[in-house]
């Protein structure tokens, strides 16, 4: 079987609550897959099922072509890294790395060799004889990754590994994980609620909601062509502007404005039918100032609030009675109360069916 990890019709219920609903997911060898979603969407649950820490209600799980649905976690060929690091507190770092191997009955030389390799890779050699309590959060998480590394497995599972770290460490370790993946070329499944982590690390992102995968695609596809309102709203910060309108004959009408969207690429490949729609425009795709005249869609509005954020500025205004934000370079930022011309290109926007919320 060519898939590294494969989930077939997986369901999980806690009593009457369906946490996962007949889920299918195939992950290629060496792929970095990120499970992304709000809390309670079932992403960690799915990871725990793959790890064998939760018993599934229905369906199957294959790892490296082997049906592991009933296997113990240790027999699945996985290593796992946890949010709270989950190091054994009274054991030294070296013992933390070696304990599982000793229990599995490995020879001392083999254990030493693996620890040497892992600690070199993660630069934790100076820490080997320390106790976890004497390590910083970042160091602890390196050790936790090392513990997964020494198991010498094909699949790594990460359960929100960076959530307990502060922002600076988080971005450092994020790069580190990416480097590790490039070097090891293992399959990695990574759960997070942080979209930056997802966008930067993933080969593919699976966006989940209520136990169902909404979209499974490369990060840029998810960003540029979200399949529905949920995905569109979840990815991107500040989030996408949504304005209710009506689509007819290549034009979206909203609140007295008529926007020509003939450049928009419909999913059907054709012009689309007349219907109520929601127009989605990302704040960073909005143009003001000199370039605005070249934009196919334009309108005039008053700036209500300006939020400077350093390199860029977010401005709040209204379009057709609904909040509309835009992101600009701080140098060219508008002033509060200023009336300016605002433009965008429909080819970079998204249009959703107002009823179903799916992209058209």
């Amino acid at each position: 079987m060519e898939h590294s990890v494969s989930v077939k019709d997986l369901s999980l219920n806690f009593g009457a609550v369906n946490v996962l609903q007949s889920m299918n997911l195939d992950i290629a060898p060496g792929e970095f897959l990120v499970l992304l979603g709000p809390s309670g969407c079932g992403k960690s649950t799915l990871l725990n099922c793959i790890a064998g820490l939760l018993d599934v209600s229905d369906g199957q799980i294959f790892i490296s072509g082997k049906n592991v649905t009933w296997e113990e976690p240790k027999d699945r060929g996985i290593g796992m890294v946890f949010q709270s690091y989950a190091l054994y507190p009274q054991m030294s770092v070296r013992k933390n790395l070696s304990f599982g191997l000793q229990v599995a009955g490995f020879k001392k030389e083999e254990i030493d060799k693996r620890i040497a390799r892992a600690s070199e890779m993660l630069q934790i050699e100076p820490l080997l004889d320390r106790k976890p309590a004497n390590l910083s959060g970042g160091q602890r998480q390196r050790v936790a990754i090392g513990r997964a590394l020494v198991r010498d497995v094909d699949v790594f599972l990460f359960d929100e590994p960076l959530s307990n770290l502060d922002a600076k460490l988080r971005s450092d370790l994020r790069v580190e994980i990416k480097r590790l993946h490039q070097r090891l070329k293992n399959t990695m499944i990574y759960v997070t609620h942080d979209q930056i982590e997802a966008m930067t690390l993933a080969d593919r992102i699976a966006i989940m909601k209520s136990g169902v995968i909404q979209q499974l695609d490369a990060p840029n596809v998810i960003y540029n062509k979200p399949v529905n309102l949920f995905v569109a709203g979840f990815i991107g910060s500040p989030s996408m502007n949504f304005i209710n309108g009506r689509f007819e004959n290549g034009t979206v009408t909203l609140g007295g404005h008529n926007f020509d969207v003939s450049r928009y690429e419909f999913e059907t490949g054709q012009g689309g039918t007349a219907q109520d729609v929601i127009l989605g425009v990302r704040p960073e795709h909005v143009v003001i100032g000199p370039g605005v005249e070249s934009q196919p869609c334009q309108f005039e509005a008053e700036i209500e609030i300006v939020e400077p954020m350093g390199a860029e500025t977010v401005a709040w205004t209204k379009l057709a009675g609904e909040t509309f934000t835009l992101r600009t370079n701080s140098e060219t930022a508008p002033q509060t109360g200023q009336k300016i011309r605002i433009g965008f290109d429909p080819i970079r926007s998204s249009i959703f069916d107002a009823q179903s919320g799916t992209r058209i």
């Binding site: 709270s84 507190p89 304990f99 602890r140």
Partner: protein, 312 residues
């Protein structure tokens, strides 16, 4: 603002008066008074004829006291050891997703709700040589069965130990179970992924993580052991002979019936010693963990608080 703290609110002082009176009056003055009396030859009523360490010399020549000391060590060692081991085993077994957990907990803990007098009387009845457990088993056909620890000077103290364990194990179990439940669930997951067998995880990973809960249970037991009085009175009255004498009983006997206050107070002062050692050890651990907490990444406090782990 800092200066306001130093200024004493008169109302606060009034509110705290009973506490200050108790702390100073009872736990300082009374203790000092007791220690002072131990150096006098007070009989029924206190007097202040100081006789140096004579009472202590006498004390350590009194068989009744020597037996008491031997008994408290025996009782302390066996009841605490059994209590901890049995308590931890019960906690571990209760942690195995037992469906009837609440029922079992109720059963293991109810003896603690009963007084030690009741405990002593019930076990005395069960250990009755003629009509108790022994005769019940003999009536089943095992005619040579012997179980009457309380009638024999050599075994009476073990009978008391059995009753004491019955009364107190549930508490240890409850504290240790709370400690077990306080262990980060992800540590358990990590151990499973590492393939560490359950019993090894309990022994090598969670047990050392529960030092706080163990110390709590241990200290609680120690205080109980030093204070043991009711159980002896109800179960054996110190007998047969003086074989189940305890320091606490010794002191009460000497300040009441035997009216030898000086000797009694010398014994009471001796009782204070182990507690002071214990407090010193506890203070040392507290100081050490404070120092550790001051280091990088303060370890999460592990004291079991049934109010639930507060997410910070």
């Amino acid at each position: 603002m800092a200066r306001r703290r130093i200024k004493i609110n008169p109302m606060a002082l009034i509110g705290l008066t009973p506490m200050i009176a108790t702390a100073v009056g009872v736990f300082v003055i009374c203790i000092i008074y007791s220690i002072v009396l131990s150096f006098t030859n007070s009989r029924l009523l206190p007097n202040f004829e100081f006789i140096g360490f004579a009472q202590y010399e006498r004390l350590w020549e009194t068989p009744r006291w020597l037996i008491s000391v031997r008994n408290i060590w025996l009782f302390g060692f066996f009841s605490i050891a059994f209590n901890m081991i049995f308590g931890y085993l019960l906690a571990v077994f209760m942690d195995q997703r037992i469906k009837q957990e609440d029922a079992f907990r109720t059963i293991f803990l109810y003896p603690f709700a009963m007084s030690l007098v009741v405990t002593g009387l019930v076990w005395q009845w069960i250990m009755d040589p003629n009509l108790g457990f022994q005769s019940a088993v003999r009536n089943m056909g095992f005619t040579d069965f012997r179980f009457s620890p309380l009638t024999n000077e050599a075994t009476a103290i073990y009978g008391v130990i059995v009753a004491g364990i019955w009364n107190g194990v549930g508490v240890t179990m409850a504290i240790l179970l709370a400690g077990l439940r306080g262990v980060d669930e992800e540590v358990w997951k990590a151990a499973r992924v590492d393939g560490i067998p359950t019993w090894k995880t309990y022994l090598f990973i969670t047990l050392p993580m529960m030092r706080g809960a163990f110390i709590t249970a241990f200290v609680l037991q120690c205080v109980g052991v030093v204070r043991v009085y009711d159980l002896i009175i109800a179960m054996t009255q110190g007998g047969p002979g003086i074989s189940t004498q305890m320091p606490a009983v010794f002191v009460i006997q000497h300040i009441s019936g035997r009216s030898n206050v000086g000797l009694g107070m010398a014994a009471a002062t001796m009782m204070l010693l182990p507690i002071i050692v214990l407090i010193a050890i506890q203070q040392y651990f507290a100081w050490r963990s404070r120092r550790r907490a001051a280091g990088i990444g303060a370890a999460v406090a592990t004291l079991p608080q049934a109010q639930g782990v507060k997410a910070s």
